[in-house]
């Protein structure tokens, strides 16, 4: 037993610890969480608030000609009084046909009037915003802004400055929102504020799913999203959510402006949605998840796209972790500080360890086998005929089998429960993808983490 075994068992212990924590926490989550369907949400809202608030949907986009139409259409289809659902489209300097696509939809509504406004904005910056406003017959307002490319953070800030709504939701232009999601989310927000006797629940996150898992890369993301949707439900109950997804998280607009709105330097922060979530937690506000408020994202189609996306996410999360390190193991932030922040921190250690363990247990033996075989000219026939004669139960490494068995079992348990949580079954065709998911996906993500850490180290050296 050497250093490798100590590392292996540390990883097993940490993984079992986190999984056990979630499974125990599931009990309270299921007992306390309340799910609304469309009708019950309507009913609940009419009973508990005087009138439905104005909600703004902000769609920032950059070169999304393929998907933007579907995104806008899904917003136009939302179940909500149209005069209370404002749409703001911020074209962040697209160079493709996005604008053409957008106007193909909204030109139908006619009545275009151009306005120009100057507004005071967050962080003391005053911005002049030029926009076109289109009023539909049913009094729905659609505003279109074209700005020079300035990043998603700026685009969102322009949107929330112009917005009229008490609440707003951003919607990435590769995502679609289900019709009833907004009502469910609003009901959830009102419900939790009432339950906690506060007005500090200022953000509701949706349940993100992959819209059309048609390639293996998207299938893998599909399982991952289901899993994180399920874990987010537990995290929501314990106020541990550390990322408010870009697509359709619902925010209290005034409170977000008070908190300083979006970070505008994209290069510095990389993931503006994660940064905002950390800031909300840091300011002791609540983030809750609407466990059945579905939002669909297309997700990167190719492996390269996926790796690039995750590279950005991981880097962003490390930056956030470093910027908000005062919360790590800080009792002031409750379970978020003690549990979630340590998970986020240990994830780095786990990724690299898993990669190393994977190398030692699979890659290295294969390399050694090839080296050995090369010594006798790859003539393996004698070994094949000799194989399996001596079987001895004592020859297996039982502790390792127990450890990996428990990890696998917990993984399967989490997967099954995340399917139940999303109300979908596991079909036969899922099995082959699930094998890949269990065997390859996490190794792949760990590899991305390793690359990210490497790039940060190299990058830092370059800056100095």
């Amino acid at each position: 037993m050497g250093l490798f075994d100590i590392l292996l068992w540390t990883v097993i212990a940490i993984s079992v610890y986190f999984s056990a924590w979630w499974l125990i926490a599931l009990n309270r989550t299921l007992a306390n969480s309340r799910l609304f369907d469309k009708e019950s949400a309507k009913k609940y809202l009419s009973e508990n608030i005087k009138e439905l608030p104005v909600v703004t949907v902000i769609i920032p986009l950059w070169n999304e000609q393929k998907t933007i139409k579907g995104t806008i259409q899904s917003v136009l289809d939302i179940d909500y009084p149209k005069d209370k659902l404002e749409i703001i489209i911020v074209n962040d300097g697209s160079t493709d046909d996005s604008e053409y696509e957008i106007f193909e939809i909204i030109d139908e509504f006619k009545k275009i009037k151009t306005e120009q406004r100057s507004l005071k904005v967050v962080n003391g910056i005053t911005r002049k915003i030029y926009y076109k406003e289109i009023k539909r017959k049913n009094n729905q307002s659609i505003k279109y802004i074209y700005q020079k490319n300035a990043g998603k953070g700026v685009a969102l800030n322009v949107g929330i400055t112009l917005a009229q709504g008490k609440y707003y939701a951003g919607l990435d232009s590769d995502s679609y929102v289900a019709k009833s999601t907004l009502l469910k989310m609003l009901a959830t927000l009102v419900y939790y504020n009432k339950k906690l006797k506060t007005n500090k629940v200022i953000t509701i996150t949706p349940a993100m799913r992959i819209s059309y898992p048609n390639t293996i890369v998207r299938y893998l993301q599909h399982y991952e999203y289901l899993m994180s949707m399920f874990v987010a439900r537990i995290m929501s109950e314990h106020d541990m959510i550390y990322v408010t997804p870009g697509p359709f998280s619902l925010y209290d607009r005034k409170k977000i402006i008070e908190l300083g709105a979006y970070h505008e330097n994209q290069r510095e922060i990389l993931t503006e949605d994660q940064e905002l979530a950390y800031r909300i937690q840091d300011s002791q506000y609540y983030i809750k998840q609407c466990a059945n408020g579905y939002v669909y994202s297309t997700g990167p189609e190719t492996l390269k796209g996926l790796l690039r996306q995750r590279n950005r996410w991981f880097k962003g999360s490390l930056i956030c972790l470093s910027n908000y390190r005062h919360m790590i193991f800080n009792k002031e932030f409750g379970d978020f500080g003690i549990q979630q922040m340590s998970i986020n921190l240990l994830r780095v250690f786990l990724s690299i360890s898993v990669l190393y363990i994977f190398y030692i247990l699979t890659i290295n033996p294969i390399i050694q086998l090839f080296q050995r075989m090369s010594l006798y000219g790859f003539d393996i026939w004698p070994f094949i005929t000799d194989f399996g004669i001596r079987f001895n139960l004592l020859n297996y490494n039982y502790p390792r089998l127990i450890g990996s068995g428990i990890i696998l079992l917990l993984g399967i348990l989490m997967l099954v429960m995340s399917h139940i949580n999303a109300n979908i079954g596991i079909e036969k065709k899922d099995l082959k993808y699930l094998v890949v998911y269990f065997l390859v996906y996490h190794i792949m993500m760990a590899y991305v983490m390793l690359v990210v850490i490497f790039e940060i180290i190299i990058g830092k050296k370059q800056w100095w």
Binding site: I12, A25, F333, D335, L375, P382, I402
Partner: protein, 236 residues
């Protein structure tokens, strides 16, 4: 400001679960380890008995009965099986030793296995003379500090598997020379100074002998047996 909740009970329960799993694994580890140790001890006992039996057969053939092919072939088979078992058992012993928490536990056993190896080697040499044993006998000296030795081991085990009945290999870990005078003696007889060293039927090969070369050596040896067999057939 109201204080945020810390779910202490979760932390305590999940920590306990982790501790229980670690304890169970440790328990299994120690149970398996001691079982392995006991099984190796048993095997060692069996090998001793086998040796005793072989020795008796040998003495009988040598002193009482006239050597004939029938009595010899029984001895050959028994010798072959015993040495094969010994080799396999020793390989496993070294693997178990690597897995085990304390090497010392296995050190004495390893010594015994090595002595058995030498014993069997001597026996095989004697039996070869008296029974015209058609086997190549190899004494293989290696050291833990020798980086290339594992490669020699791989090539040897390849041929052991390939020519199963015709090759007898006796590995000797030269690191044991410091507390095992027999090993030192053996090394001085063959003037072993470098690792790996192979003694193939009293011919010394210093340094690693690779696949092709070793194959040629075996081919030559087997040819010798053939001619020997032919001449003995002709004479009778």
């Amino acid at each position: 400001m109201e204080k945020r909740k810390i779910s202490y009970e979760y932390y305590i329960i999940s920590l306990n679960i982790v501790i229980i799993i670690l304890l169970i694994s440790a328990l299994v580890f120690f149970v398996v380890d001691s079982k392995r140790y006991l099984s190796k001890q048993d095997e060692s006992e069996i090998q001793n008995t086998n040796y005793l039996s072989l020795q008796l057969q040998y003495t009988l053939i040598n002193e009482l009965i006239e050597t004939n092919s029938q009595s010899c072939s029984a001895l050959n088979t028994a010798l072959q099986d015993s040495i094969k078992d010994l080799g396999y058992s020793m390989d496993k012993l070294l693997e178990y030793k690597k897995d085990s928490m304390n090497d010392e536990y296995y050190e004495n056993l390893e010594r015994r296995y090595m002595l058995d190896n030498i014993k069997y080697w001597m026996f095989a040499k004697k039996a070869k003379d008296i029974c015209n044993l058609n086997k190549v006998i190899i004494l293989y000296f290696y050291s833990n500090n020798c980086e290339i030795c594992p490669n020699q081991g791989v090539v040897l085990s390849y041929y052991k598997t390939k020519y199963d009945e015709n090759i007898l290999i006796f590995p000797i870990n030269a690191d044991n020379a410091q507390y095992e005078p027999v090993v030192e003696l053996l090394m001085s007889v063959y003037e072993v100074n470098a690792y790996p060293t192979l003694i193939i039927d009293d011919t010394k090969y210093e340094g690693i002998v690779y696949n092709d070369e070793l194959g040629n050596i075996f081919a030559e040896e087997f040819e010798k047996f053939e001619t020997l067999k032919n001449t003995s057939n002709q004479s009778s």
